[in-house]
């Protein structure tokens, strides 16, 4: 293609080309994406971020909440339906589990021991409940600590069924 461009000195040709590119660049400075784009992208980001948050939750996030509800339900049931206890003898059965470090004490069985022994993947979950419930179960409670919550651990089956409870303090 003979354009007459060849007659220009290379330096002049380069400078004029650069000048035209500068003009284009200056005109492009006015070109911006539609404002609605930001709104739709922010909406999409919120959906995406919500999805990520849900995916990032630990698998057993519901266990502490379930432990609390189960504890309260069991305690309420025990208050309303007090077991007929023999005059002498324990109200509950107790058992221990092998612990690597300090043993915090035995578990109080809420299910028959042989049923608990057959549970392959029991999970221990920390929980808290009002100390006055101990008294309702017939356990000793220091009067000055009635207002304090009780720290405890609950043993759950793989299906989420409460198997035993252990009072920590």
């Amino acid at each position: 293609m003979n354009t007459g461009n060849d007659t220009l000195h290379p330096a002049v040709r380069e400078a004029r080309l650069a000048g035209r590119l500068d003009e284009l660049k200056a005109a492009l400075a006015a070109a911006t994406p539609p404002a609605r784009l930001e709104d739709s992208l922010v909406s999409a980001f919120r959906v995406q971020a919500g999805r990520q948050r849900r995916a990032a939750r630990p698998l057993l996030w519901w266990m502490p909440a379930l432990a609390m509800v189960a504890t309260l339900a069991i305690a309420s049931w025990m208050v309303r339906n007090p077991a007929v206890q023999p005059a002498a003898g324990p109200a509950f059965e107790f058992f221990t589990v092998p612990a690597a470090g300090n043993d915090p004490g035995p578990f109080m069985a809420l299910k028959p021991l042989d049923r608990i022994a057959l549970e392959p993947q029991a999970t221990v979950v920390a929980t808290e409940f009002p100390r006055e419930m101990l008294a309702q179960w017939g356990l000793p409670v220091a009067p000055e600590r009635v207002g304090e919550p009780v720290r405890a651990e609950m043993l759950f089956s793989a299906e989420g069924e409460p198997l035993a409870i252990r009072i920590l303090d």
Partner: protein, 201 residues
């Protein structure tokens, strides 16, 4: 391009990955114009450029792990994403061409590229619009490098990252692209008159 402190944008990027909406908005506002202008020049259509921009930032939010800070800045990565999106419709034609065959004067090339070029008026300035149309009519491989290096202020290394080629190829394509563009502008009578200030001085 002067040395660039990437830490602020990397911090924003990390916050965005953790679901921080403000960080995403900041990244969008920082790079939207560069991506849109690249897409505008690449597609020749305001509507398509908006679509490409939207898809590019959707890619940013859904596939952030694809960004590798060791390979360049966020702007270069986003331009690369935008380029791939803009190429979708013309991929078969562009991939069928060997860049060496795209040299100026290749038979049939001008008609092919011009026939595919945009007719939409995008810029207010008449001269700038003519330059844009001339740029849109040159071979795609040269056009990309020209847009990135001359109009998007990316370094040769970043343009190489965007196009997936080495820096030497960027230089040669830039040289050929400038020559093609100069020829087209000359044909339009746009190589007369003053250039940059240094010529005038």
């Amino acid at each position: 391009m002067p040395p660039w402190n990437m830490q602020p944008e990397l911090t924003l990027f990390a916050r965005m990955r953790q679901g921080d909406e403000e960080a995403f908005v900041e990244l969008y506002r920082r790079y939207k114009d560069a991506v849109y202008r690249f897409a505008l020049l690449r597609t020749g259509s305001a509507a398509q450029a908006a679509d490409v921009t939207q898809e590019t930032f959707l890619h940013l939010m859904t596939r952030p792990e694809q960004y590798d800070p060791a390979r360049g800045c966020v702007a270069a990565w986003l331009c690369g994403v935008a380029r791939n999106l803009a190429r979708r419709e013309t991929r078969s034609r562009e991939d069928a061409m060997d860049p060496d065959d795209l040299a100026e004067g290749a038979p049939g090339l001008t008609e092919l590229v011009v026939a595919d070029g945009p007719a939409e008026r995008l810029l207010a300035s008449e001269t700038a619009e003519q330059v844009r149309a001339a740029l849109a009519a040159i071979a795609p491989h040269y056009r990309d490098v020209l847009i990135l290096c001359e109009l998007s202020d990316l370094s040769y290394a970043e343009a190489a990252q965007v196009c997936g080629i080495d820096i030497g190829t960027v230089r040669s394509r830039l040289s050929r692209g400038r020559a093609q563009l100069a020829d087209r502008l000359s044909g339009l009578g746009l190589m007369q008159g003053p250039g940059r200030a240094k010529e005038a001085s």
